[in-house]
Structure formats: structure tokens, C-alpha cells
């Protein structure tokens, strides 16, 4: 009822004779039908949302992932800044104050926020320097592994045929050996230190990302845009670099985020059994190992590095899950 009334009113309102003032000189002939504007018609009014912006929007909706990201940023800032501004150095010993509790204030007025260890070294400084070392190792290892793995996997998947066959047989053989055993062997023959730890891990750790990349490349290879680029005469390197790799990126970013916690774990494990970062340089594994020796009496010496290790691994895991949901909505469960 009310709808038809409104329609009638609108009809009435558009009668030109009633709308125009009586003394107006305009008549219906003064108006012409312009027709659609060819240029304006194709104009996109709203800004187009790129894939990455779309993914960012989905990621922002995921509260847990955002919280993890914020936590990791704060953690990285602490790890970068605290060792620079701390009044102590990593190996500075205060033998008169061993195993002090948290928030201990020395006579000179400086506060040991996390207390000291058995040699009187400031644990606040050592914990954040250790976090920095562990993160540095984990990130470099993962990035190097990813680079090697992507190149290897992309080549195998791109060329296919017997090249792929040989490359994959090689992977089949070495994937059977648990990487931790090889890392243990390798870190024994090299002078112990951060660099050799990274090298040892990088020699064996690329296999997973190589297989992942190969699988993705194999499925991408048969898609039309690759065939088109090939038909237009792109070189293999151009095809891989500017068509295949960008399409792999989302999978690889997720893989990278989820590989970091396992790299942190490996570093901590190796340092724990005495093959990792050499003392007195702290790493999360070293600190946890020292903490276990005295945790019956000074539990905070184990709990602090344990909390940092666990929260860091947790955050990277949750962020990785969030990124996977954001970057590939098809996988969302």
C-alpha cells in the first residue's frame, strides 16, 4: 500500500510541467539524451583490493594472530635494544652476588631485573642477548634453507622428466636420515659457534621446502598462464622468477613461519646437549641448560628462558596458522 503511494507521488513529482516555474523559458526540447559515457563507464569507483591487502585484512580479523605478531615484535625489540642499553656485559661477573633473586638491587644502585646466575652474571642482559642469538640463528637457518630448497625444488619441478627423477631420488635417500643426527655429526666436526651451527643445519634442512616447492611447481606448470608465458618465449629463469615464484610465495611464507619454531627448538636442543652456541655466549638453549642444573633451588633461572622459548615457539606457530588461513582462504577449516 505505502509502496504504491510513494510511487505515485514520485511520478507526480517528475511531471515537468508541475516542476518548472510558470515563467521559465525551458522546454522539453532544451534537453538531449547524452547516452552512456564510454570513459566513465569503465571507471572503477572503489580502489581494487590487491591479494596482499586482502590477506592483511583477513589476518587483522584474527585476534590471536595479531596478538602473536605484537608479542613477537615486542620480543624482537627487547632482544635488539636491551643488550645495547644494559649497564652489564654478557660475561661480567659479580662474584659477591651469585644466584640473586629477581629485582635484586646491588649496592652500586644497579638493578638485576631477573637476578643473577651462579657467577653473578646479570640474567636480564643474558636472557635478551640469548633471545637475540637464538632468533638470529633460527631466522638465518630458515631463510637459507628456504632459498636452497626453493631453487632445488623449482628446478626439479620445472624441468621434470629424468632431471626431476634424479633430484628427487637424492632427496628420498637423505630424507630417511633424521636431520638432527646429521646436525649432531656436522656440528661436531666444525668449530662450535653460531656460524657452524647455521651451516650444519642449512646442509640438511632444505629438503622439506624443496619437496614443497617441487609439488607446487608441478601443479603450477600445467596452468594456462605459464603455458602462455612459455609460448611468448620466456626463458626458464624468467618463468621461474617472475611467474612461478610469486605464486609460491604464500605457501612459502607459511612454511617459513612454521619452520622458525622448529629451528629455535633445534638450537635449544643442540645447546642443551653441549653442541650449540659455545659458552659464555648465551642462547636460549644454553640458559635453559644452566637453569636445569640449579632449578631445584633457583627455579627462576630455568623458568625465564623456558617461558621465552615456549612463548616464542607458540607465537610463531599461531602466527603461522593465522597466516595460512589469511593467505589461502580455501584451506580454512
Amino acid at each position: 500500500m505505502s509502496m504504491s503511494k510513494a510511487k505515485n507521488a514520485a511520478k507526480a513529482a517528475f511531471e515537468p510541467e508541475k516542476l518548472l516555474p510558470i515563467d521559465c523559458d525551458l522546454s522539453a526540447e532544451d534537453f538531449a539524451h547524452v547516452g552512456p559515457d564510454a570513459e566513465r563507464r569503465d571507471e572503477i569507483v572503489r580502489p581494487s583490493i590487491s591479494y596482499w591487502r586482502d590477506a592483511m585484512r583477513r589476518l587483522k580479523e584474527n585476534k590471536v594472530a595479531v596478538a602473536c605478531m605484537i608479542f613477537l615484535v615486542v620480543l624482537i625489540l627487547f632482544a635488539l635494544i636491551v643488550p645495547l642499553v644494559s649497564p652489564y656485559t654478557m660475561s661480567e661477573q659479580h662474584l659477591q652476588h651469585p644466584n640473586e633473586p629477581m629485582f635484586f638491587r646491588a649496592e652500586d644502585g644497579h638493578m638485576h631485573i631477573f637476578g643473577t646466575d651462579d657467577l653473578g652474571r646479570d640474567l636480564f642482559m643474558r636472557l635478551w642477548l640469548g633471545t637475540r642469538t637464538s632468533l638470529y640463528i633460527a631466522v638465518s637457518v630458515v631463510v637459507i634453507n628456504l632459498l636452497i630448497g626453493v631453487i632445488y625444488g623449482a628446478l626439479a619441478g620445472y624441468f621434470g622428466g629424468w632431471i626431476d627423477n634424479i633430484m628427487m631420488r637424492f632427496i628420498e635417500i637423505i630424507i630417511g636420515i633424521p636431520y638432527l643426527i646429521i646436525v649432531i655429526l656436522l656440528s661436531m666436526i666444525m668449530k662450535s659457534g653460531v656460524t657452524s651451527l647455521i651451516i650444519a643445519y642449512a646442509i640438511v634442512g632444505w629438503v622439506g621446502s624443496a619437496r614443497l616447492t617441487r609439488g607446487q611447481v608441478l601443479s603450477l606448470r600445467t596452468q594456462e598462464f605459464i603455458i602462455a608465458a612459455h609460448a611468448l618465449g620466456s626463458s626458464p629463469w624468467r618463468l621461474i622468477g617472475s611467474h612461478i615464484v610469486p605464486n609460491l610465495l604464500s605457501v612459502l611464507i607459511v612454511n617459513l613461519t612454521l619452520a622458525i619454531p622448529s629451528a629455535i627448538f633445534t638450537e635449544a636442543f643442540l645447546s642443551y646437549i653441549g653442541l650449540g652456541v659455545p659458552l659464555p655466549h648465551p642462547s636460549l638453549g644454553n640458559l635453559a641448560q644452566e637453569g636445569t642444573l640449579r632449578f631445584m633451588f633457583y627455579p627462576q633461572q630455568l623458568l625465564l628462558p623456558a617461558i621465552v622459548i615456549s612463548l616464542t615457539m607458540l607465537s610463531f606457530n599461531m602466527l603461522g596458522d593465522g597466516l595460512r588461513d589469511a593467505l589461502d582462504p580455501r584451506l580454512r577449516t
Partner: protein, 317 residues
Amino acid sequence: MALLSYILKRIGYAALTVFFLMVLTFLMMQLLPGNPFLGDKAISQVTMDALYAKYGLDKPLWEQFLIYMNNFLHGDLGLSIKYNRPVNTIIADSFPYSAELGIRALVFAACFGVGLGVIAAIKRNTGWDSAAITLAVIGVSIPSFIMGALLQYLFAVKFRAWFGFGLPTMGWKGEATKILPTLALCFGTMATVARLTRTSMLDVLGQDYIKTARAKGLTDSEIVGRHALRNAILPVVTILGPTAATLLTGTFVVESIFNIPGLGQFFVKSIRENDYTMIAGTTVFYGIFLVAATLVVDILYGFIDPRIKLTGSRRES
């Protein structure tokens, strides 16, 4: 026929892997810094030469490798340099402890992991679900050596202070001493199993045959027990191979923390003591063990789930 050629192919790869591992281990041993005979007292050159001759270290590299391979094929892993005992004997003495610990942890992780995953999937989006997921995520994020120390602190130190009794934290004698190491070792695996079970259970519960079963009027427990669970635990079998590796490396630290005389503790010790033959023997032993475990799991999976294509490469863990 396809199954047979698949099995043969997998065995071939496994043999190649073991050979590769042996070459690698052998070369590593040659490159190791340090000298096993450099102890607390100085040794004259003559004695050193005699020692090198005794352990065959004076021969050319390829000859040493052939001797090593020959001995290995006869089931002899050499003599431990530090303990002056055959590596075989040490492994035979200590591996049963590690195996018992590992099997206990595996059984515990499988039972509780599957249980947690099923509960989380059935009670999806409830408090049960979030509790199970939280537990699983925490389990994945805490390394076993930290878990071990925390358990020791909580159940031995704190319990003794609160209730006047606690669990023993050292050794491997009697059931009470086995509780904490098993818990410490199994927690991560349990979490992984729980996550996987939940995902696959949710997948199965959405299938048509579950609707059919429900339409026939079966009770919830019948549906879960008879139709859903059987299909949902199939993917869990696939992670048993990688799990063997996780548990095995876990024993290195858990045995050290709880002072269990297993092979893991020996391995860590021999690394610190540059005991060449012991490390080589143990590594090869571990390698063969894991390759065999993965092989058995993969072949079993072909029987359990006929849907998978046997010609494909190994599943991602």
C-alpha cells in the same frame, strides 16, 4: 603386484639411505677434531702409533672404510674407544631402557592424544574443544627438556613440600620412577596426535555415511566408536614414522635429565668424549632403526588404507 614392487622399491631406498648414512658417518669421524687417546697424561709417539695400529687408524682411508663395512655386514660395530667394550654390547645393554621409555611414551601419547582429539572434535566449539586445543598448542611449544625439568620441579619438589610425598626423579627402577620421564617424553607427541585426530575426526564427521548412520538411528557413541573413529585414526598412523624420530631424539635429553642408563644418554656422553667408534656405531644403529620404522609404517599404511596410491612418493609428515 603393484604393492610388491612398491615394497621392493621402498626397501631399495632404505638400503641406499643406510649406505649413505654409513659413508657420511665414516667421513665425519675422519674429519673430527681432537684425538681419542689424548687423555690426562701425555703419551709417547711409540705408544700412540701402537694404539693407532690396534684400532686400525693407521691404514689408508678406503681400507678403513672397507674394514668398517665388512665388520658392519657381519654385525660388528667395533670397539668403543673410551669404554673398551664392543659397541654392540653397549647398545644391547642400554637400548632396552630407551626402547621401554619410548614405547611407554608412544602408547601413552597415542591413547591420550586420540582421546583428546576425539573429545575436541565431538564437542566442537565448546570449552572442551578450546581446552584440548590449548593443551595441544602448549604441548607442541614446550621442548621435552624443559618439560622434564618442570615436571621434576612440580611433582618432586613442590609435591613433597605440599603433600609430604613426591615422585622419584632419578633412575629407572620400579613403576614410580618411570612416570615422569614418560610424561616428559610423550607430551609433544600427544599434542601432535591430538591436533591431527581432531582435524581428521571433524572431516570424517561431515561425511555422508555418518549422516546415514545417524538417520538409521544409531546412538552417538555407536557412530563415533564404530564408524567415525576407525576412519579418523587412519592419518594418525602416517605420523608414527616421524614420531619415532621425535621420541628418539627426545630420549637423548630425557634420559640425561632423569639419569636413565639408556642409549640416548650414552650417545650424548660419547659426543662429549670424542668416542669415534661409539658415535659412529650409535648413529648407524639409530639410522637403521628409524629407516626401518618409517619403512614399516609406510608399508603398513598401504595395507590399512587401500585408497592411497602406492606409486606416489612418501607422504608429508
